[in-house]
């Protein structure tokens, strides 16, 4: 199972190590450093690196490499999923996951890691349970602890860990009983030069925030459940019920959790809510190039598109750009050649555009690759797949909860080729 964990920052310093079995010398990371050197960018370091005696599996998050060391045949997804869980836990505990924060809370980090694995076997990875075992640091608690001499470590056996519903605490009480559900869909798409869709798919999630007293039993039904192509559930969802009736029936965990994630594949035509009109021209042996892009709505179901940002990695030959946006602000970094334009809202009457000239390196031939445009946007009150929640019912408790459902569509990896 998982032998050790090393946290390495992007400059190649090991700033934390944890061993769950015998101690593995940190020199094992030299193999990782080699791979890191070979990869041009941090993202490109391969996730599985073999060494003569160990395997190094790594994920790169928040500018930190989480490198797990394993010695025997272990499913790599198991390790990678676990590392993701470590990242999530840190974020949950400390708000952000960064080198300084981890260093500031090194003892808590160490205690948490110790609770998460035993001999390399996962022990407690649910945030709810961990927090009962080791309380997250807050300024108030630190002060209280210093005065009273009490500790961060809970001395009660976490209640959920062994019950039939391990995800829910017993004895939950609220004065305001509320259940909110957010249906969030991300569109991943590649649009080609001519504006037609190369591929498009939708990744959706339903995130819930449930604060309900006691042991409520909820059912959630959709108007059009057949839309969902492949679904992954939180363990609380009763799978049989979904299989037979396409209804989500569950006893929710307390607080925030992801109820469901789903995938609407390319079979169903995916509506593309925006278009980008572009004209980017480089000329051979000329020091000037022209640049113009316009963003406009398309199949947005009458909803406003907001939070639009456009980023593009310009070719190396571009020295600088002098552009004027019709709205929003833009920046161009001559070092990284990254153009970014914060557009804001799209007004269909007056489409936002960004145009101007590029100064090119003299004498260099015309770049052979055209920049790809990355788009970010948000549409409130719309699930682009058309998914709609029909009703939400609660059984098992007597009070009347407050219920709310919100829809949102966002751009995921949305790329326009030029």
């Amino acid at each position: 199972m998982i032998h050790s964990l090393f946290l390495i920052n992007s400059s190649g310093d090991i700033f934390l190590e944890k061993h769950w079995k015998s101690v593995v010398s940190r020199s094992v990371c030299d193999y990782f450093f080699e791979a890191q050197e070979r990869a041009t960018e941090a993202e490109n370091v391969p996730p599985v690196i073999p060494t003569p005696h160990h395997y190094l599996l790594s994920v790169y998050r928040h500018k930190i490499f989480f490198v797990a060391v394993i010695q025997t045949e272990v499913p790599p997804l198991f390790v990678i999923e676990f590392l993701h869980r470590v990242v999530d836990t840190f974020q949950d505990y400390f708000g952000v996951c960064s080198e300084p924060v981890i260093k500031d809370n090194v003892v808590v980090v160490y205690e948490v890691l110790e609770e998460m694995l035993d001999n390399g076997f996962p022990l407690a990875t649910e945030s709810n349970i961990l927090k009962e075992l080791i309380k997250p640091p807050t300024i108030l608690r630190t002060v209280v602890n210093t005065i009273t001499g009490s500790t961060n470590v809970g001395d009660q056996l976490p209640t959920g860990q062994l019950s039939v519903v391990p995800w829910r605490r017993t004895g939950v009480k609220y004065t305001n009983n509320e259940a909110y559900f957010d249906v969030v869909e991300e569109i991943d798409a590649i649009i080609d030069k001519s504006g037609s869709t190369v591929t498009a798919e939708i990744q959706g999630v339903i995130d819930a925030c449930v604060k309900l007293t006691g042991m409520p039993d909820l059912t959630l039904s959709f108007m059009n459940p057949r839309l969902l192509d492949d679904v992954s559930f939180h363990p609380c969802v009763r799978f049989k019920r979904w299989e037979s009736e396409r209804i989500l029936s569950f006893i929710p965990p307390d607080g925030n959790f992801r109820l469901l994630s789903y995938h609407v594949s390319a079979q169903n035509l995916v509506a593309i809510p925006v278009y980008v009109k572009h004209s980017i021209s480089f000329r051979d042996s000329s020091s000037l190039g022209r640049f113009e892009i316009t963003v406009g709505p398309k199949q947005s179901m009458g909803k406003t598109i907001e939070g639009v940002t456009v980023t593009s990695q310009m070719p190396k030959g571009v020295l600088n750009m002098s552009l004027t946006p019709s709205q929003g602000t833009h920046t161009f970094d001559p070092v990284t050649k990254m153009l970014s334009w914060d557009v804001g809202k799209i007004n269909p009457q007056k489409l936002p555009s960004l145009k101007g000239t590029m100064s090119l390196q003299v004498g260099a031939s015309k770049p052979d690759e055209n920049p790809t445009i990355n788009l970010q946007f948000k549409i409130q009150q719309l699930a682009i797949s058309g998914l709609k929640v029909n009703r939400l019912d609660m059984y098992g408790e007597k009070y009347k909860p407050f219920k709310g459902i919100k829809y949102m569509t966002k751009a995921g990896k949305f790329q326009v080729r030029t």
Binding site: I14, L16, E17, W20, K21, S22, V23, P46, P47, V48, P50, H54, V59, E73, V74, P75, P76, L77, F78, I80, E81, P100, D104, N105, V106, V107, V108, V109, Y110, E111, E114, D118, N119, F121, P122, T146, G149, T151, V153, D155, L157, Q161, L162, D188, I190, D192, V198, T199, D230, S232, F233, H234, P235, F239, S261, H263, S265, A266, Q267, Q415
Partner: protein, 1008 residues
């Protein structure tokens, strides 16, 4: 106030200061000090000197302080074993604590202190904790057994902990079950021979129940454990599959992939005509596709696994081409292609799209996606050889073939897009991919070539070089088709600096020397730096110039002499690499001799027809592939190597193999014999080297015919002593150099290409065909299978024959339409005995109106198996340039009777008794004029063997045996009364379904 304060040091020396604080009276100060110690430890500072002081803090009722001290202990106990003993008492005491959290903590920590002396004290507390009333303690103790085993395996066995652990598999708490499974799996890994995880249906049931209730990690352990189980029959396999399927919807990708592994393995046992099989297949694809939208690291692992599955599918469709596969094919990825039967075939295109590359994908994901795209693209044109799972996908593949545009423009445009990206490795691979597409999908070749030309125009150095390498392959595949581009290629001659690209360019110039006006100048320019070139380029240059000479002998005499002397003489300055390369020298001598003695022979050798170029590259060897399928989701699947190739410590790893399918016709066979049969079936499978070898040869040597150089090399070794003397002349005369290439052209099947090395082979061919005509089983006259009305003018009639162990389908194709027919291809649907074409349908010339062609299509029985109704029904699709036609025909069962079907007497007797009486079937064969002797002889020639003969009450009793290609034995008793033309036939077989068809075969054979 944060923990970073623990890192601040003072001048006096950190250790000294900490020591003082640890021994402080104040609880708070102590705790702070321990925290500082831990903080130093986490960043790798050595604070082991503080061991006694920290251990002194252990006796406390403060849980946090206790935990901190434990953390410290685990880290340093190993380096201070004597001091660690001091802590033992506290541990033992804590194991009795009323609070289960403390009991669990104590037993957990003790296991982590890897000191031999401590382990002795650990046994008693551990034994108690394994039987603790609190499940939390039990589950912690289960893991502790694994820890202890790692330190002292003998102790664990002596103390009987393994049995206790096995008992925990039946624990009432799912978490305890999961941990017990995890611990046992880890222990079992170091004891491959032990039967620790010897599962039976009861324990499987326990596991499946626990699977629903335990944590995600527990589910992974349980699923991985289930994957090692061998269900006793298909019903059990199906019930496990049903209970595992919900795991495909789990949010944790590792659970999903482990579930995929279990399902893929157990599906092998299900009969493919079950509705359930199809449903299950459909459920497998979407979760895998969804993994591709997860984080890049997860994507990478998923892609590596999909790559395996795609190859497995490819292999299953091409057993005839290269290797026979013992176990039933998956046809799994066909679901990715065709998961929704109601929609249009464009779905294929859409599914390909999930592998399209996003420009900000990490490079390792990009390369892997591209690799899969190439593999999938290759599947487009395999319709000829492929035998799909059901008629649905079957007809789609053909549709796909007949409409290359489904595959074409979009994928190609995508690849072209990639070829303009920044990353060099990726761009190179994209260019290669375009070349592979051209080779695999003939209809797309033209567009691929023009795309490559566009890319060459970009003048990006590495793109140009890569493009030239692939264009060479395209020329090889489609000779005399795209030579118009040579001029463009020649323009880029100067920019080539990589050996592979230079060699490719030289090959092109040599091959098409007659069309390139200045070929001699071009080649001469390379000759200047001959000794600086790599061997690959040197060899190529040598061959190219000889080719040039043979084509334009007058102008190039000087040039050829120059190259021959360069090749055969050692380089003047010794440090030049490879100048004394024996391969180069020998090839030079051979050419020299050939040219000087017999230019005609030289022409035949050097300008011989080239063998076919292989379509698929980098395939995993099939036995390994099957093994890897059992390791889906593991490191082995990421590295495409079996675990024993890299798992540490030389621990023997049990080889896994796929379970055999219990074909419905064999379902009466006992389950014990089935796996054994599969295991033995696996072995002959290791031979497949031929295909790979051929690939290697092709790579090594792209110029002259494959058979040339190896032959030349071996001849030279024989005559090496008098290399320059007359020996070689006689050698050439004796062995007849011209013959081997001729053999190449006559042997139609590409698989035989390796054969001509033996020169006596042609005789061998004659011999076999001679024997073949002597003993052959009965052949029915040809019947019309597909009337011309139904097939737009194509009439097909045919019959089945069996000659010396090989089955073939003799076909007669008649064109009754008014237009010429071309591009014939044939494909079989799955059938009861796995009949499949062993070679593509070869109609050499176009079939003009009113013309008839007769041909014989060799068949094998390694195709996919599906029980048909009736059993001997065969569905066939034939394609030509006009359309695709389907027909079905019944094959006589006796073509499946194998030559070694004679059973030993004793064996016969035992088997006869062993088969239950209800499996016996009786038939009457009426009006058969033969006597006993004649009948026996006649049957023998069709591989029905008489084992014994008896005369009972004036009746002749013939006891006969026969064996079908799939290993089913049929025993027969034929009763003949002299003078009575009606025979009585009793058949006994473990698969009674076949009896009726066997009796029909008897009747046909006896009456004709």
């Amino acid at each position: 106030m944060t923990d970073s304060k623990y890192f601040t040091t003072t001048k006096k020396g950190e250790i000294f200061e900490l020591k003082a604080e640890l021994n402080s009276d104040k609880k708070e100060k102590k705790k702070e000090a321990v925290k500082k110690v831990i903080a130093s430890m986490t960043v790798g500072k050595d604070v082991s000197a503080l061991f006694p002081d920290v251990v002194n803090c252990m006796q406390t009722d403060n849980l946090e302080l206790k935990k901190l001290v434990y953390l410290y202990l685990m880290n340093y106990a190993k380096s201070q074993p004597d001091m660690a003993i001091m802590a033992v008492n506290t541990f033992v005491k804590d194991c009795e604590d009323p609070n289960p959290l403390i009991r669990a903590l104590a037993v957990r920590t003790m296991g982590c202190i890897r000191v031999d002396k401590i382990t002795e004290y650990l046994c008693e507390p551990l034994r108690k904790c394994l039987k603790d009333e609190d499940p939390y303690v039990r589950k912690t103790a289960a893991v502790c057994v694994a820890k202890l085993h790692d330190i002292n395996a003998q102790l664990v066995e002596d103390q009987g902990f393994l049995d206790t652990l096995k008992d925990l598999i039946s624990d009432s708490n799912p978490m305890v079950v999961a941990n017990a499974v995890a611990a046992l799996s880890e222990i079992a890994e170091s004891h491959p021979s032990s039967n620790l995880l010897d599962l039976n249906p009861q324990s499987i049931n326990k596991l499946l129940t626990a699977l629903n209730e335990c944590t995600e990690w527990g589910q992974i352990f349980i699923l991985d454990c289930l994957a090692n189980y061998m269900p006793k029959d298909d019903r059990e396999a199906q019930s496990i599959c049903e209970r595992v399927t919900p795991r495909l919807s789990h949010a944790n990708s590792a659970v999903v992939l482990s579930a995929v592994k279990v399902l893929m393995k157990f599906m092998e046992m299900l009969s493919k005509d079950l509705d359930y099989y199809g449903t299950l297949l459909k459920k497998l694809a979407p979760p895998l596709v969804t993994l591709l939208s997860a984080e890049p690291e997860l994507q990478y692992v998923a892609l590596r696994n999909i790559n395996l599955i795609v190859q497995k599918r490819y292999r299953d469709q091409h057993p005839a081409q290269e290797f026979p596969l013992p176990c039933g094919p998956y046809g799994f990825f066909s679901v990715l292609w065709a998961s929704r039967p109601t929609t249009r075939p464009e779905i294929l295109k859409h599914e390909m799209k999930v592998f399209f590359v996003k420009y900000n994908d990490p490079i390792y994901v990009k390369l892997e996606k591209l690799d899969i795209m190439i593999r999938l693209a290759s599947q487009a044109n395999i319709a000829q050889a492929s035998r799909e799972c059901n008629l649905m996908t079957f007809s789609w593949t053909i549709l796909y073939l007949s409409n290359p545009f489904l595959f074409g423009p979009q994928v190609l445009a995508e690849l072209k897009e990639y070829a303009t990206e920044v990353d060099v490795d990726f761009v190179r691979k994209a260019v290669r991919a375009i070349g592979r597409c051209a080779i695999k999908v003939e209809q797309s070749a033209e567009r691929c070539v023009s795309t490559l030309l566009d890319l060459i125009q970009t003048k990006v150095n590495y793109v140009v070089q890569e493009a030239i390498v692939v264009i060479k392959d395209i020329f090889r595949k489609y000779p005399n088709k795209y030579e118009s581009v040579i001029a463009t290629l020649c323009e880029n001659l100067d920019s080539l600096d990589e050996p592979e690209a230079r060699a490719a360019m030289i090959w092109i110039v040599g091959e098409y020397a007659e069309r390139i006006d200045n070929a001699d100048e071009l080649l001469e320019s390379f000759l200047e730096g001959f000794h600086d070139e790599s061997t690959q380029v040197q060899l190529q240059l040598l061959t190219a110039i000889v080719k040039l000479f043979l084509k334009k002998p007058t102008e190039t005499q000087e040039l050829v002499q120059q190259v021959l002397s360069l090749a055969t003489q050692a380089s003047p300055t010794p440090p030049h690499k490879d100048s004394d390369n024996p391969d180069l020298r020998d090839r030079g001598y051979i050419y020299w001799r050939l040219l000087s003695t017999d230019p005609v022979a030289a022409k035949e050798v050097v300008l011989a027809e080239k063998p076919l170029i292989s379509e698929e590259t980098d395939l995993i060897e099939p036995t390994l592939l099957d093994e890897l399928i059992c390791y889906i989701g593991t490191l082995a699947s990421v590295y495409h190597k079996p675990p024993n190739a890299f798992v540490e410590g030389g621990r023997g790893v049990v080889h896994k193999s796929l379970p055999p399918r219990t074909a419905s016709s064999e379902s009466t066979e006992s389950p014990e014999t089935a796996p054994a049969g599969a295991a033995s079936g696996d072995q002959p499978d290791v031979i497949p080297a031929q295909g790979d070898l051929l690939g290697d040869l092709l790579n090594l040597d792209l110029g002259p015919p494959v058979s040339g150089p190896p032959l030349a090399a071996s001849s030279v070794q024989m005559g090496a002593v008098d290399l320059l003397g007359g020996g070689l002349d006689s050698l050439i005369g004796d062995t007849n150099f011209g013959a081997p290439p001729a053999a190449v052209t006559t042997a139609a099947a590409p698989a035989r290409l390796g054969a001509p090395i033996s020169s006596g082979l042609s005789d061998l061919f004659d011999l076999t065909s001679g024997v073949g005509t002597l003993s052959g089983s009965y052949v029915a006259p040809k019947a019309v299978w597909l009337p011309a009305m139904k097939a737009k003018g194509l009439e097909i009639s045919g019959t089945f024959t069996r000659q010396v162990g090989s089955i073939s389908m003799d076909l007669q194709l008649t064109n009754k339409a008014l237009q010429v027919m071309t591009d014939f291809a044939i494909q079989f649907n799955r059938n009861s005995f796995g009949l499949a074409p062993a070679a593509p349908l070869q109609v050499h010339a176009p079939l003009s109106p009113n013309q008839t062609v007769e041909l014989s299509l060799p068949l094998n029985t390694v195709g996919s198996v599906m029980k048909m109704e009736p059993l001997n029904n065969l569905q066939v699709a034939v394609k030509n340039n006009i359309d695709v036609f389907y027909f079905s025909t019944l094959y006589p069962l006796h073509v499946l009777f194998v030559e070694d079907g004679k059973m030993d007497r004793q064996m016969f007797l035992a088997t006869w008794k062993d088969i239950p009486n209800e499996n016996e079937a009786q038939f009457q064969i009426r009006d058969c004029p033969l006597n006993t002797e004649a009948a026996s002889n006649k049957l023998q020639s069709s591989n029905i063997f008489t084992v014994a003969k008896r005369n009972v009450e004036g009746q002749d009793m013939l006891y006969q045996s026969l064996k079908l290609t799939n290993g089913i034995w049929v025993l027969a008793e034929l009763r003949i009364q002299p003078g009575n033309p009606n025979f009585t036939l009793s058949l006994k077989c473990r698969a009674p379904e076949v009896s009726q068809h066997v009796s029909q075969a008897y009747e046909t054979i006896l009456k004709n």
